[in-house]
Structures are given as structure tokens and as C-alpha cells.
């Protein structure tokens, strides 16, 4: 069998098995490169407001805080809805204290979480569709380390959701339809169908077979594009029939 005919045979058979994955790779790949990654990450959903601290907001000093919480780590003074607040960890517990009084502001209640979410959202006028408290069993898109959180779903284009930490009042993460889709696209792109297999043997097998199939494809391209032009009209016809 000539190289041309052999290549045709193997290309045909291999593509029967990996052809669908080629379509999946190209669809998911195209999705991921076309949508700007910063848009996917929801950067355009949040305001980049600079909110400045005023010295007269602070009546509970940092020295006092360390006296009250000697094991405080990762201490930061910043603002939450205009008020000065301290955030820090003590072991596994996260704290949110008023810098005015030193009193704890957490757990954040529903109304407060909604205010925070609206304040961080890009547009001033925004409608909220649903609010839920997630304390366990986080959805796929939320890391368990952020729990517990308030999930605020906006009634806006691409169904954005903000996740506000109950303990710190921080916007821990955000999602919207295109990001959720992106996560799916990525899973399909790397053939992450079996979660228990970190080495992803399935992808390896498909990538190798696809590579081989493509090499045969290149041989075909060579014969059909470059060789064919040199052949006579009759031969040309025969090759076409065989395809």
C-alpha cells in the first residue's frame, strides 16, 4: 500500500476515535481565547474605588488590639462601607473589628452583606435576585476555605454572584455565566472527566493518538495539495473517488 493510501486509512480510522475530542478542543479553545480573561474573572463587575482612611476614625488603637488579641496575625486596617475596620486571624478564626470601638462587627448579617455587595458592584443601581447563606457544601465554584459566606445573586446580565465572607465582610470571590462556562470549557479542554486521576492518562492517550492522526493528516495534505497538482487529470479524478 502506498504511503498516501496508508495515511488515508490511518487518518480515517484514528479520527473516528479522536475526532470528537478535536471538535471539543477547538470549541473550548476558541471560547477561552476569544473571551478576555480579565472579563472572565469578573474584573469589570467590581468597582475599583479608593476609599481613604481618616485618622479621626480610629479610636481603638493597634496597641490596644494586640493587648486584647496577642496572637493576632495578618492584621490590616482598612474600610468597610466607609467605616474603619481591623481584620486579622487568630489561629483559624477570622476577626472583623470596628476601629472606632474595637467591637466585633461579625458575623455579618444579611442586610449588611447586601449593602457590601451593592457597594462593590460596578453599577449603582442593581437589582438583587436571591440571597443565600452557605455554611457547608459549597457549590463547585466556591472554595470551602471561604465558608461561611453570603451568596448574593444579581438580577443582571450574565447572572453575576458575589460571595461575601460572613466573618470578614470581604468579597471573597465572584462568578458570572461566562466564568462558569469557562470553568466547564477548561475541564473539557484538558479532558478532566475523571477527577480521581491527577496524571490524566485519558488526555495522554488522546493527545498521542491525535498527534499520530495529525501526522498522517499532514502526509495527506502533502499529497493532495502539492503532489496532486503535478498529476494528470485522470489520476486526480481517481484520487478524489477513493476519498
Amino acid at each position: 500500500m502506498s504511503l498516501h493510501r496508508q495515511s488515508r486509512k490511518y487518518h480515517k480510522w484514528l479520527m473516528l476515535f479522536v475526532g470528537l475530542q478535536f471538535v471539543i478542543w477547538s470549541v473550548t479553545g476558541a471560547y477561552m481565547v476569544i473571551f478576555d480573561i480579565d472579563y472572565i474573572h469578573g474584573d469589570s463587575l467590581v468597582t475599583d474605588k479608593q476609599t481613604f482612611l481618616k485618622s479621626e476614625q480610629i479610636h481603638y488603637s493597634i496597641a490596644q488590639l494586640y493587648t486584647d488579641h496577642p496572637n493576632a496575625k495578618g492584621l490590616e486596617l482598612s474600610t468597610l462601607l466607609g467605616a474603619a475596620v481591623y481584620r486579622f486571624n487568630d489561629g483559624k478564626i477570622k476577626y472583623l473589628l470596628s476601629a472606632d470601638t474595637g467591637k466585633s462587627l461579625s458575623p455579618i448579617n444579611e442586610d449588611y452583606a447586601v449593602l457590601i455587595a451593592k457597594h462593590q458592584y460596578m453599577h449603582d443601581k442593581v437589582t438583587i435576585k436571591q440571597i443565600s447563606l452557605i455554611a457547608e457544601n459549597p457549590p463547585f465554584e466556591l472554595s470551602a476555605r471561604y465558608l461561611p459566606v453570603w451568596r448574593i445573586d444579581f438580577d443582571e446580565f450574565a447572572s453575576p454572584s458575589f460571595y461575601i465572607s460572613v466573618q470578614t465582610g470581604e468579597l471573597v470571590t465572584k462568578r458570572h455565566t461566562f466564568w462558569r462556562l469557562f470553568d466547564w470549557m477548561f475541564s473539557f479542554h484538558v479532558m478532566d472527566y475523571v477527577e480521581e486521576d491527577p496524571s490524566n492518562k485519558l488526555l495522554l492517550v488522546f493527545a498521542v493518538l491525535s498527534f499520530v492522526a495529525s501526522m498522517f493528516g499532514i502526509v495527506l495534505t502533502y499529497f493532495r495539495v502539492f503532489k496532486q497538482n503535478k498529476q494528470s487529470g485522470n489520476k486526480k479524478l481517481r484520487v478524489r473517488k477513493c476519498a
Binding site: 480510522w13 479553545g29 495522554l204 493528516g217 495539495v225
Partner: protein
């Protein structure tokens, strides 16, 4: 069907090389050692045993009063066993986005600018290799090792077997990351896979979008061809 075959044939000529690059680099990602590719061979967690003496901490209110620039937030951090206040004047959405800081000694109120000596000491604390520094360079973004980093960083180069470079944010002392020859080797394949020839650390460039669309049509026409062959009973064993 004729136009499907026509498209498939001529598109194959156009996307062939890139398709092989995608498959080859994809295969590489599947087989590479992911730990090595992170560039953290000699990275260790900096041990900081600073015990804060609350009585010595200066009042943040007073610090704020002395500032000429407005302040978003004040972090109390430790660098080289010394507590500092890290004042933020411009808050980026993420740490690697553009940020502006002032660093102030939390006990004395002295304003600190991180120089090469300090950057080297900070970097060394996160490094477990032979600890021989060959050069220290102040690098303006973008740098090849961390193309998405938007802040000026000190690049501390170690003369080890992997040519490790440690990056320290020049305004905050934050560890940007470690990079080495293993990571650079993997990054080369990412550059190829993402067609990121300008090395901007992104896969949203026009050349990949064009090729992705051509490849999409190429794969779809191929898939239709397979269906056609199946329908016509061309898949016969023997």
C-alpha cells in the same frame, strides 16, 4: 460535502503546523513535572518569629496625620524580624495589579525604602539553595518571569544549578515569586501553546483568535467528513 472537503484540505495547510504545536505542547503539559514547572524548587516559607510589643507600636492615627498622600489601608507586616506599617495609596484589584505603598517602621516611624541589600535579605529568607547571590537588579514591569506582575520588583539572582531568580516587590517587600530554568522551560511551551509571541502572559491575542477560528472550522469539517464516511459505510474492518 464537496465544499466541506475543499475547506478541510486547504485549512489543513494553514493550521497544520500550529495544530502540531498545540498537540505537542499539550502533550508536554500532560507529561511535565508540575512541581518543577512552578519554579519553587528552592522556595521555603520565610520563618518570622517576631513578637510584637504592643506598647512600642506607634499610633496609626498619628501616622495617617503625617501622610501627604491619602491612605486606603494599613497592613501591619513583618520584614526581617521588624514590624512595619504598609500604607497603601493606590489599591489594585489584585496584588499583582498596580499598587502604591509607603513602608514605615512601626516602632520608630522611620520611612523605609527597600534597597538592594534589604531585597536580598528578604529573598534569601525564602530560599533554601546555596544562597550565593550573583546579581540584584531592579526590574520594571513587565519581566519575562512574571509577565502579569505590574509592580516594580527587585530581581535577586542566585547562582545555583537552576539559575533561580527571586522577585521582591520594591514598594511593599511582598514576595512576587521564585522562577528558575525549569519554570522558564515550561513557560516556553506555554508561550507556544498560547501563541503568546509577545510574552505578555496572555492567551487573548489576535493571532491565536484567528487560528482558533480557522481550527474550529477545520475540526468541524473533519468531523462532518467522519460522519459522512460512517453514513456511507466506509468504516469496514478487513
Amino acid at each position: 460535502m464537496k465544499s466541506i472537503k475543499f475547506l478541510h484540505k486547504w485549512l489543513s495547510l494553514l493550521v497544520a503546523l500550529q495544530l502540531l504545536i498545540w498537540l505537542g505542547s499539550g502533550l508536554f503539559f500532560n507529561l511535565m513535572d508540575h512541581n518543577k514547572a512552578r519554579g519553587n524548587e528552592y522556595r521555603i516559607k520565610a520563618v518570622d518569629l517576631t513578637v510584637i510589643e504592643p506598647a512600642r507600636l506607634l499610633s496609626i492615627s498619628d501616622i495617617l496625620k503625617q501622610q501627604t498622600q491619602p491612605v486606603n489601608s494599613v497592613k501591619q507586616i513583618e520584614l526581617l524580624d521588624q514590624p512595619y506599617y504598609l500604607l497603601n495609596h493606590h489599591l489594585g484589584l489584585y496584588k499583582h495589579f498596580y499598587n502604591e505603598h509607603t513602608l514605615i517602621n512601626a516602632y520608630t516611624g522611620e520611612r523605609i525604602i527597600i534597597d538592594a541589600v534589604m531585597a536580598k535579605a528578604i529573598a534569601s529568607r525564602t530560599y533554601s539553595g546555596n544562597n550565593h547571590v550573583s546579581s540584584i537588579v531592579k526590574s520594571s514591569p513587565p519581566v519575562d518571569d512574571f509577565p502579569k506582575e505590574q509592580n516594580t520588583a527587585w530581581q535577586v539572582n542566585f547562582s545555583d544549578d537552576l539559575n533561580t531568580s527571586v522577585y521582591v516587590d520594591a514598594s511593599s517587600g511582598r514576595l512576587v515569586g521564585h522562577s528558575n530554568d525549569d519554570k522558564r522551560f515550561a513557560d516556553f511551551f506555554f508561550m507556544l501553546h498560547f501563541m503568546d509571541y509577545g510574552s505578555i502572559g496572555s492567551f487573548n491575542n489576535w493571532q491565536i483568535i484567528v487560528f482558533a477560528l480557522f481550527t474550529l472550522v477545520f475540526c468541524l469539517t473533519g468531523f462532518i467528513w467522519v460522519i459522512e464516511l460512517l453514513r456511507k459505510g466506509r468504516y469496514r474492518l478487513g
